[in-house]
Each structure stands twice: as C-alpha cells, then as structure tokens.
C-alpha cells in the first residue's frame, strides 16, 4: 500500500474515507487489529510487514506518537492499528493515553501484543492487564534473535498453554515468524487471567465491574478490565465511564475513593505490584537462561558509548563523520554537482531558452526564469541547494537512530540539558531539529511534561538551524574563515544556553530527572534506513516546494510592484544602521519570514558583497529569526495560537537585538 494510505489520528473519530484502502473498508465496518506493546519492541516494523505501509521507525522509545492505521496485506477487510508504546497501563503519558483511547474507541477484532522476547517479565506484566480486557489476543515475542544471543530461551508451547492464546517468536526486522503470526490470527481468543488480586482489592474490582456492566457496558472490552484500569486511575477510562454512566457516575467515584483510602493512596501501585508478581511467577516457569561468561560485543560498544572517558571522544568522532557526510559531501560535493553542473550548466539555460522563445508575454517569462523566477529561484533553491543537504542529513540521522546511539546521547547530554531545565531526552528533538525544525517540533511529544515541551519548542524555534539553513550558513561562513564559523557556533550555543536558562527560570514547574531505557546497539539495516530517509524526504519536499514557490512569487510581486525597494528603505535603519548590513539584505529577511533557509540563501546569494563581519552578523540574525512558516504552523498546532504568537513576539526582536550586539562587538574586537 502506498504511504498515502496511512492516516494518523490522535483520537479515533468516524471520518469520511479518504484513501483507496479505507474506501473498501469504511471504519464503521472495519475490524481493527491493534498492535500494542512496550516502547521500542518493534511494533512499527511489524506494522510495516503486515500492511506494507511505512511509518517512522527508530531504535529509540517513543517514535510512534500517534495511532497509525492501514489496511492489512493479508485481509483487506481488516484495519491494522499501530499504537504508541506503553510503558505501563493504566495510562499516564500522552502516548499511553493515545493507546488507551484506541482500545476504548476502536471496533477491536483482536489485539496483537508485541513483546520483547529477552524481557519476558515486563512483557507479561502488560499481558496481565491486557488479558483482563476480554479481547481475543495473540502474543508475538519479537527480537527473539537478541534473546537467543543473550542465552534466553522461552518455552513457547508452555506459555501459550498458560495464557490460552497463540504465542509466537518473531524477528520483525528480518520478517521471521511474520507468516506464522498472520496464520495464528484466526485462532486468537481472550486470554486466561494471570491473577486474582488480594481479597479487598478483588472485592472492589467486582463491585466496580458490576456497576460498569449495569450502567455502561462497553461493546468490546470486559467490565472487569475497565474496572481494574479505573481503580488504577486511568484518565481515559475515567472520562469514558463518566461520559457513558452520566448522573450515576458518583457511585463509581465513591467506590474508587474508598478503595484508595483503604490502600493509603497507593492503590495503583498495589495493583501494578500484584501484576508484576504474577508475571514473575509465570516468567520463572517458562524461561531458561544460559550462563554467559562475558557481555556481547553490542553490549560492550553500548557501554563505551556512555562511558565517562570514551563517551565524549566517540561523540566528537561521530559529529566529525556526520559533518564530513552532510557538510562536505552533501553541502559541497552534491550541491556543486546539482547546482553548478546540472541546474546552472544544463537545466536553467535550456529551460530559459525554451521559455524565452515560447512565452511571448515578457512578465510571464520573467516570472518563470527571471531574477525572482519560479524555476530559476524557487525550484533551483529547493532542488539544487536544499535537497542534497537534507537527503544526506536524514540518511545520517537514520543510521544514528537505528544504531541505538541516540538514546545514549541523552545520557551524555543530560548534564548540559539540566542547565536549561530539561533532561537529556530533549536532545532527540534538538538533533532532529538540525534536520527539520518542523518535524522536530512534532517530535517534542516524546517529552514527558508540558513544561519540557514548551521550553524545547521555544529553543527549536529560536536557536536550532535546520539542515538546509545549516548547509547555507556553513557554506557561506566556511568561505569567509574558520573563525567566522566558530563565532557563529559559539553565538548559537551561548544563545541556546542563556535563553534556555532564562526560560527554565521563568516557566513554572519542576525539572523531571532522566530515567531511560538504553536499547541494544544494532547494526542498521541499509534498506530500513533508505526507506526512512525516503519517507522523510517526501514529507519534507511536499512541505518545502510549495513554500519556496510561494516565497518566490511574493518576492516577484514585491519587486514588480516596486514594494521591495520600499521595504528595503523602511528596513534600512534596522538592517543597515543597527546590523550594519547592506540595505538589500532587507529582502533576505522578507524571504526569511517564509523560510529561514530561504532567507539565508538570499544572503548567501549576495555573499560576495558582504564583509566578514556582515556575513557573521547576517547569519546570526537570520538563524535566530523566526523559523519557517511550516514550523510556525506546527508550533500553533502543538502549543496553541497564543503561545506561538508570544514566542514570535519574543524571537523576532531578540534576533535583531543579538545581531546588533554582535555587530557592535565584532567591529570593536574583530577585524
């Protein structure tokens, strides 16, 4: 199925079918098969295997932040849903709540719990809760190759017998066990309960179940499962029951309050503890561990990467390689080939000749191939300058993601991020922001608190240049001198730390200490990295080309109507007086309102007329300037209009303030 067949929804709502696959299977009659499980156990890879639809898959927890759906390859009547990973249920985080909503609102045919074979105890702790929902289930123990490498063997028939459901071993990345999994789906059945809770808790569960059965029976989920989730304080189940029970909801609320009082406020922990114990007993019965004398190579590498002594040199080496690949190979070699050889050498002259000879209206020819031409400026910027840079960046990022390096980077970066009120987890959106700030703004959902998300989105918008812009900045300042690049880098880090420090002081709330899983280091699979790069590039181009064309059109209109010289005149005191740039640089800032990299490219185009100080000041200002229109829209989506407007109101004057201060300082100390 094509990528367009995927739809991502935070909340399931009956919608008009919009894709080919969903036309044949309208949601009202769909049979949903839900993939559920812990973060980073391979649900999304399995989803790809079962549907052909590719979603962003990474070797770090929290990649899937929304429910994704697509038609199953093996049964066009079935709709497969990839849910965000749940660390545990009852739900607490946004992604857990999204999964819980899917469980409550979908017409579920069956659940496929995807578990990590080498961590059976944790998998079965979740099974202990899912089993209570009374929905047909299959358990796929994924990554069983990694379990085998660690000497872990699971007695699958015994486990299947104890749970009363099909249990399979899979390696989703290699497609192993997937056919068997598909074959087992018709045999899915509601599992046997793993435990009976302690006396008083069990009585409370029975009472809550009775109320739910009487007042708000769920069409697919068992009342007992809902009762356990409700007593455990699941916010989504609470809302659902409140809405469906109506006036009599107080009965249930009183019951939970009494149960919580009896448990001295630790009811959710008690419930979770009993499930853990039940999972422990079952795990001990079905698992065998061979004694290993030494850790695996992957484990050793993983430890070196976060080692206090080796971690930083490895980080620097990794940054150097990425720079060589993106900054030198992408931004210099490939851009040279595309821009000079292909576009300026062949395509642009040929297209210009064709247009000039066949279009008789002069302004129309100019609109296509003139100074602000849709082809000569818009398409050339987008395809010749930006595409090679983002392609190499997304490829490099994909390799790092799949290798398992990025979660380890959170450990190395944690102390630095503590200075700005965040924890190391924020390094992931920040690094992705070096590729595309818009995409990174969306990825802030992996952060655990609204405060962390707000600070990170602000810093992304202010001081993180996207790869397109980074390429332009490095290309321009690299041509000036190494000192120029260094001043720009230090300015960005200084602004990031200072503004982050101030934001953390001003925005109320507590910093959350980092607790994170470090998935095994793995050798990335080229095909998976290429697919992921392709998916991201498609997303990026769909976003970037229309904006580049719109930006060029606006520049063309401003030029033709004579407004551009007017804007240049109005902006002169600020641009020439305060920043010390040539008056024409105003045009670059107008372009920068559409995309920062578009603006930076505008400055790049006039590089030969700028002094070293002007180049540095111009690049510092345009980097801090508001991000592109698309990421502004994403900010509005994630944080609301008010917050987004407030951020822009801070960022734009701040960019000019810092640029001007650097103009004064550099003129005084750097010549």
């Amino acid at each position: 199925m094509a990528l367009s067949g995927i739809r991502r929804t935070r909340r399931w709502m009956p919608q008009i079918p919009e894709t080919e696959s969903s036309v044949t299977t309208p949601l009202t009659t769909s049979n949903a098969i839900l993939l559920v499980g812990h973060p980073n156990v391979g649900k999304s890879v399995l989803f790809h295997r079962l549907t052909g639809a590719y979603v962003n898959v990474s070797n770090y927890p929290g990649t899937t932040v929304e429910v994704t759906r697509a038609s199953a390859r093996f049964d066009r009547e079935a709709m497969l849903l990839d849910t965000p990973g749940v660390l545990s249920l009852p739900s607490r985080s946004d992604d857990e709540r999204a999964t819980m909503r899917a469980l409550l609102e979908e017409r579920t045919r069956c659940l496929v719990q995807v578990g990590d074979a080498k961590n059976l105890r944790r998998t079965l702790t979740l099974t202990a809760l899912l089993a209570e929902l009374g929905v047909p289930m299959v358990l796929a123990l994924n990554m069983h190759d990694e379990a085998a490498a660690r000497g872990v063997t699971v007695d699958l028939p015994a486990l299947a017998k104890d749970l009363g459901i099909p249990v399979l071993a899979t390696v989703a990345t290699g497609g192993e066990g997937v056919a068997e999994l598909i074959g087992s789906l018709p045999d899915a059945c509601p599992p046997q309960a793993l435990l009976r809770y302690d006396g008083e808790i069990e009585a409370d569960i029975a009472r809550a179940s009775e109320i739910i059965t009487r007042l708000a029976p769920h069409p697919y989920l068992a009342a007992r499962g809902l009762a356990i989730l409700y007593l455990g304080g699941d916010p989504e189940v609470t809302t659902w029951l409140h809405e469906h029970i109506g006036a009599n909801y107080a009965l249930l609320e009183t019951l939970r309050e009494q149960a919580a009082r009896r448990a001295e406020g630790k009811l959710p922990a008690l419930l979770a503890c009993e499930r853990t114990q039940a999972a422990d007993v079952l795990t001990t019965a079905v698992i065998q561990r061979a004694l290993r004398s030494s850790p695996l190579l992957a484990q050793r590498i993983g430890q070196y990467v976060v080692d206090p002594l080796w971690g930083i040199p490895i980080l620097l080496a990794m940054l150097y390689l990425v720079y060589q690949f993106v900054g030198v190979f992408g931004a210099t070699t490939l851009v040279g080939l595309m821009e000079e050889d292909l576009f300026e050498g062949i395509l642009n002259p040929a297209f210009s000749d064709f247009v000039n000879s066949s279009v008789t209206i002069p302004w129309m020819a100019e609109l296509l191939v003139g100074q602000y031409g849709l082809w000569t400026m818009g398409m050339t910027y987008a395809l010749a300058l930006i595409l090679p840079i983002v392609s190499t960046f997304f490829f490099a990022f994909g390799v790092l993601e799949d290798s398992g390096y990025l979660p380890r980077l959170t450990v190395i970066a944690n102390r630095l991020f503590a200075l700005i009120g965040l924890n190391g987890r924020a390094v992931l959106p920040m690094v992705l922001g070096l590729g595309c700030v818009t995409m990174a703004t969306l990825t802030t959902r992996i952060l655990h608190s609204p405060r962390e998300r707000l600070i990170t989105i602000f810093l992304l918008a202010l001081a993180i240049p996207c790869s397109a812009q980074l390429g332009v900045v490095l290309g321009m300042l690299g041509g000036v001198s190494f000192s120029a690049v260094l001043i720009w880098v230090l300015a960005m880090i200084g602004v990031l730390l200072l503004s982050g420090f101030l934001a953390a002081k001003l925005i109320p709330g507590q910093r959350i200490p980092l607790v994170t899983e470090l998935p095994p280091m793995r050798l990335p699979i080229l095909g998976n990295v290429l697919k992921k790069t392709g998916g991201r590039l498609k997303w990026y181009l769909i976003e970037v080309i229309p904006l580049f064309l719109l930006g060029t059109l606006i520049m063309f209109i401003l030029d033709k109507t004579g407004a551009l010289p007017g804007i240049i005149r109005i902006g002169e005191p600020l641009v020439s007086g305060w920043l010390g740039l040539p008056p024409e640089a105003s045009a670059a800032f107008v372009m920068g309102f559409l995309r920062r990299d578009f603006g930076a490219t505008g400055l790049f185009a006039m590089a030969h007329t700028l002094s070293p100080i002007q180049a540095v000041v111009g690049m510092i200002t345009i980097t801090l300037f508001i991000p592109c229109f698309a990421s502004l829209m994403m900010m509005v989506k994630e944080q609301g209009l008010k917050v987004a407007v407030a951020m822009v109101a801070v960022i734009v004057p701040f960019a000019f303030l810092v640029g001007g201060l650097f103009n004064i300082a550099l003129r005084a100390f750097w010549s």
Partner: protein, 81 residues
C-alpha cells in the same frame, strides 16, 4: 521508606560491576515515578547489575539497560544479591 537495615545502600553508591538486589524505593520517589520504575521492571527483590555510575547510573535489570539520574538512584535502596 528509610533504610531499616545497615546493609542497605543507595543504588547511586554501588561501584560498577557489582550485582545487588533492590530492597526498597525511598519516600522521595513519588507515586508516578515509582509506577514508572516498576514498569521498567524494577521491583523489590529483583536482582540488578550496576554497569556504571558516571555520568549517570546505568544498570542491567534482566536484559534491559536502564540509565537513571543520580537524583533518582540516590533514593533506590539496594542490598547484597
């Protein structure tokens, strides 16, 4: 919960390479964090191996590596395996 036994030590103080058993979570760890740690497989009585202590505490619990800030590891009490 404060340490009631002399042999109990905070996880953050255990040298790398040692295998220990989780004894208790301190009161400083709030209910939500306790649930999160339990979900990661850290429960009372579970064995774990300390892999390193800097820049963060890194442990191996079953076959899962977890990194914890010292602010958390200081309040997890462990005893001899």
């Amino acid at each position: 919960m404060s340490p009631k036994h002399e042999a109990r030590l905070p996880l953050a103080f255990i040298p790398p390479g040692k295998e220990v058993r989780l004894a208790a979570f301190g009161d400083e760890i709030d209910a939500l964090q306790r649930e999160q740690l339990t979900a990661y497989g850290l429960a009372e009585g579970r064995p774990l191996k300390v892999l390193q202590q800097r820049p963060m505490t890194v442990i191996l619990a079953d076959e899962v590596e977890l990194a914890l800030e010292h602010a958390v590891a200081r309040h997890i009490w462990v005893e001899k395996a």
